[in-house]
Symmetry: C2
Subunit: 464 residues, 2 copies
């Protein structure tokens, strides 16, 4: 019996003049009475395998009826080829697993990305989406490799939580209460003590606070890579209700160390993608974003710019004299995507790390600067996308942190365990968050975030 080879392995080892078995799905066909060409792929590589089936084959009357998307096993001789790929196969035996009917939704060569979202269970069968998801896989592998090499331990922070890490309040409630018989307390309020967890619980918006507990005094350096959730009603090409986030957190890291870690991570992602997914990146660039490879090369080889928020505002105000912004810029406001992109694309022409934002537009846990007005925050802006990473050095001073929480009317008793980190063994520490889908968009060149996650969750959409 011949050896079964993944098509990826066929191209890696090129065992020309050997008879092997491949299995896969038919991407395209040219049939005639004398012979047929089948183009087959098994999903492990961007490269298809061309198979020639001679009309003398035993079951040729079945082969000639094959349709696109049908599944086959083919035993055949691999031979060198002058075609698009260096090898092709001469079939000796064709076994048909499943002959597709005419109503197969992917018959047509060109199908819109919008239509493919409606059949997301089949879209990984297209060249575009198999490329995107192999790339996504490699970016995930690169993430684990990078942080592991930097001595960060992968940490699974809880998804179900009673605390609101960002204080933003846009959370999904989790419950097993019977909605038709909600238990009520004395004053008629719902009695969450009777709910599954004995309290009101939500889907986590970030694992940062829990990650800090492991960084400070525990493992020193940790990172999360897990799903996070926002229930905001945003129906845009950049927002998902469920998305994956990477959140490193490191004891003894200053904001500068943090910026260096983020820079190294972004560059590693690109480098790894280019090494492992050259075919995928080329295909996606040719189809959707012709300039993408050049942009990625540039990012990989440029030092990232660092600029304070205050300086960035000055630059934007000066630039507004010649460049038209939709929103005028003033100190104290959050930067809009148009401003972020201007800084990275037009002004500095490379990834830009903006630091030391006004405290009033940033989260409670960020370390206050001595000016009393700004915090040790950083946003990493990249050309084409805008903000890719947001992070900060954390407030490690107990008094300053509780003061800040009370200014924001937060109840410190809900954060007793978080405050403990500032009482016991407190050290300078920093971390950041990267929205993984934003990174996949950025590196793939895809422009809708729904096209880089297997089954997107957005308002009014939880199909599949």
């Amino acid at each position: 019996m011949s050896q079964y080879l993944l098509i990826k392995k066929v191209y890696e080892t090129k065992p020309v003049d050997q008879t092997v078995i491949v299995r896969g799905w038919i991407k395209s066909l040219r049939q005639s009475k004398k012979f047929s060409f089948m183009v087959v792929n098994d999903g492990t590589t961007q490269k298809d395998l061309q198979i020639i089936v001679d009309g003398t084959l035993g079951n040729y009357e079945e082969v000639v009826k094959l349709t696109i998307g049908s599944s086959v096993e083919v035993e055949g001789l691999l031979v060198a080829s002058q075609g698009k790929q260096p090898v092709e196969m001469q079939a000796k035996r064709v076994h048909i697993y499943c002959l597709n009917a005419e109503d197969y939704p992917l018959q047509k060569k060109e199908t819109s990305l919008e239509y493919l979202r409606e059949i997301a269970h089949l879209r990984s069968r297209t060249n575009t989406f198999s490329a995107v998801f192999r790339l996504r896989h490699e970016l995930a592998q690169a993430t684990h490799q990078y942080f592991s090499n930097e001595s960060f331990a992968y940490l699974h922070t809880p998804i179900i939580t009673a605390s609101d890490a960002e204080g933003a309040g846009e959370m999904f409630r989790i419950s097993t209460l019977n909605l038709d018989k909600l238990p009520r307390g004395e004053k008629g309020a719902i009695d969450f003590k009777q709910d599954y967890f004995g309290r009101e619980t939500f889907l986590s918006v970030s694992g940062q606070l829990e990650a800090e507990t492991f960084a400070v005094g525990g493992l020193g350096r940790v990172y999360t890579f897990g799903p996070t959730f926002r229930s905001e009603n945003s129906n845009t090409a950049r927002h998902l209700s469920e998305f994956w986030m990477v959140e490193p957190e490191a004891a003894f890291f200053t904001l500068e160390d943090n910026a260096q870690l983020a820079t190294g991570y972004v560059k590693h992602l690109i480098k790894h993608a280019m090494e492992k997914c050259g075919d995928e990146l080329e295909f996606l660039a040719s189809r959707y974003a012709p300039e993408n490879l050049k942009t990625l090369e540039h990012v990989m080889n440029s030092p990232f710019e660092m600029v304070t928020y205050t300086k960035a505002v000055e630059i934007l105000q000066e630039s507004a004299k010649t460049h038209k912004f939709e929103y005028p810029v003033s100190w104290g406001m959050d930067l809009q995507t148009e401003h972020e992109r201007f800084l990275a694309e037009v002004y500095f022409k490379r990834p830009t790390i903006v630091t030391d934002y006004p405290k009033d537009i940033k989260s409670f846990y960020m370390k206050l600067n001595d000016d009393g007005k700004t915090v040790r925050a950083m946003d990493v802006l990249v050309p084409g996308v805008g903000e890719l990473i947001g992070g900060s050095q954390r407030e490690d001073n107990y008094e300053r942190l509780t003061k800040r929480m009370s200014d924001l009317k937060m109840d410190p008793t809900n954060y007793w365990w978080y405050l403990d980190l500032r009482k016991y063994g407190s050290v300078p520490h920093s971390g950041f968050g990267l929205g993984f889908e934003r990174a996949v968009m950025y590196i793939s060149g895809m422009t809708n975030i729904r096209d880089v996650i297997p089954f997107p969750r957005t308002p009014k959409n939880a199909e599949f």
Copy 2:
């Protein structure tokens, strides 16, 4: 300025006679007027660093007041040592970040695992939990490496779902509806069309069905590694409401291929753990499970036994003549943990893969055998734990699958996309699920599942 080194790197590179900087937390202390010994760890290794501080040091009056858990930066000369570790440090400068007060909860040498669960935000500071979580990290790395090497792509299946993959119904509801103003439809039923996703949604119990959509016709081989949820009211040492699951799914895999993949995975986990976490495994074994390393060696070096369910029942019935079981065994019933452990621990004395279970005790999607009574299921049983992995070849025949669903009174319209995989390009395919915490328990030797996940979620418990 001297180089800052993680303590892990100190032991990897042993730069004796060099002056370096380390940062960490004090694990133990011996102080006197003339000199002090501090044992310091930074969480990156099981090995502590001993530091000798001479009484002549500038701020010695502060050093002599240091307490356990306090955080320090020490610059000093590394010297060879005859002590427990091969190097120690002679301090030249000690900087104190935070001096711990006397109420630090981890002062005492011995604290119970139960008590530590109540301060889970601090327990990674103990030798036990830093070992467990470094091991957990390495097992996660090993998982990604193993499946990536086997050409499986990492897939992020959705957490929020409208379908019940197992048909077991023990799911958490997700909603943003205002519980005090629930929208009602015509007949008074709650109108989930007005909920965030426009339908009733839950936390996923498995990513398998979605993974199948990517395996069949798409990427060919995929695996998930993400959180899954059960709302059953089980307060045991083996159950969590939120846990991480690894679910590979492969096109063209028979049950035998599946069993081989599972065997290779378990062995790889153990091998990787032994290579990367020798110190951690030794520490945990010495403290909690003296026989554990021997067991792991044995599993790594043994072929796994394969036995059908029918044969296993015969063995158990025969064994019941001399071995007392709490539950008697008869064909058709699900095996209890005592039976599973008997097979793996007493009868075969090695990991045992039981196959071809009665269809009535298994899920709807498992492939029916020609006997019409059993399905191509497999459970991997390991000594000490019982079931570690459950999997199956999937039913790939459209008629058989819809027949089975209708027998079980399932509505096929809810599974239209899952059924499409049997209409278009259907192929034999298989997969399995491994409860990641079970694997961490098994390899660490810890006996309570709450002690191998950072922040356990169980009935009435969602603290931190």
